[in-house]
Amino acid sequence: MTDGTIFFLIQLLNAVQYGLLLFLVASGLTLIFGIMGIINLAHGSFYMIGAYLAFVFADMTGNLWLALAIAVPLSFLFGLVLETLLFRFLYGRDHLYQVLLTYGLILIFEELRSLIVGNDVHGVPVPHFLDFSIPLTATLSYPAYRLALSAICLAVTALLYLLIQKTKLGMAIRAGAFNREMVQTLGIDIGLIYRLVFALGVALAAFAGMLAAPTTSVFPGMGNQVLIICFVTVVIGGIGSIKGAFLGAMLIGLVDTFGAVYAPQFSGLLVYALMAAVLIWRPAGLFGAAAR
């Protein structure tokens, strides 16, 4: 293979890795919107919180895997608490309330982050045994951690697929998105389903932040960047559709990565152009309710 082909392959790997990571965050956003009807501007904050949790616990334990093992359940728990104390009261309310509360949460989370960890940029070390690059040619190589990251994201995506398609909880989630009352009259506590979905969304976003931390460093405002691109993903995929979020995230990964290489002067614009093109073609997104 020529260096050119290898270079292309590396970009492809980067695109897939970015897309998968984006999917983990966007899947929660689209579930929470599609099932509970909540516009959650604070969703990017969960990504940020995940990254900082990884930083704090990796610093404490000296081991990223141990940090993940602590931080993932912790963020799930955090999601349960947030839903019980705040989000539960937003269901069925006007979007204005949702936007106000969740925007307020962004400010609170950022302020807390600033108080607790400060405003410095931090790095999270790559786990020792993955701290090497796989040489591909004389000059090109690929970091092992990034490969592992993609593999982990793929595994989580597969688990999410199984959860939603094959388990009773998944059936209740899909049914609840369509007819909440009917789910209740089958004896299922829809409030509990909502709580679990919300916490799952929080944990997925936080997990993505944790995995990304060693590759991007950890910095103030990192949640906001992710939030915007996540909304783009959800809109492209069709609100409420997990399948759509997956396709949308992969498309954005490709367009963003290759755009930065082949059309760097437009790179910031390309994903929005992609979104506009998709919406002209399918106004409800790739798998939006109107298109189903």
Binding site: K168, M171, A172, R174, A175, A177, F178, N179, E181, M182, V183, Q184, T185, L186, G187, I188, D189, I190
Partner: protein, 233 residues
Amino acid sequence: MSDTTLIEAAGLHTYYGASHVLHGIDLTLRRSETVALLGRNGMGKTTLLRSLLGLTPPRRGSLRIAGRDMASARPDRIARAGVAYVPEGRGIFPTLSVRENLLLAARPGAWNIERVLGTFPRLAQRLDHGGGQISGGEQQMLAIGRALVTNPSCILIDEATEGLAPLIARDIWATVAAIRAAGIATIVVDRNLAALSAVADRVVILAKGLTVFAGTPAELAAQPEIKHRHLGI
């Protein structure tokens, strides 16, 4: 309250926002009995079922289900107390397969999915179809089957045969009779008085949110002026 009473509602007042729909309804459903609920359009039949199910809880009045106070209980708690629902329009989840519609509802008991498929062989051939892809009659069978696999002590069926071809409607009436024979109580709303009279132990007629008749089918047959005034026949 005797232990044969499943549902005991007294003085139910139910509203949609400011509009007052049920004006103090009393209703009793005993174990294994079939009650026909009749009344012209908009008289409150669906609202009464929704009140019993906790979907539109009564603002005043008492509601006891299986001996427990359920006047302000959530629908899922009422369902777990043994009340199943077949709503008008069937309420099938279109994005779930027929099998998943049943699996989601199933709770342990004598009515498992195999038994339901034995009762509705047509569903057995449609298991992997989407809930939205099957015919109206099949959807109604699925809705009844889905209620059965929750192993309820009673099923509330709204508009049992609405929009169904006569042959399919006949199947549904046969099923209602079979449910009765299996010892599960039902409240059935439908327009077909003759079919209802054949399966029902009692008939209740609503008008403007009040009970205007409660008695056996024979008693109703003996009062043509009630049939004429409240059912238009």
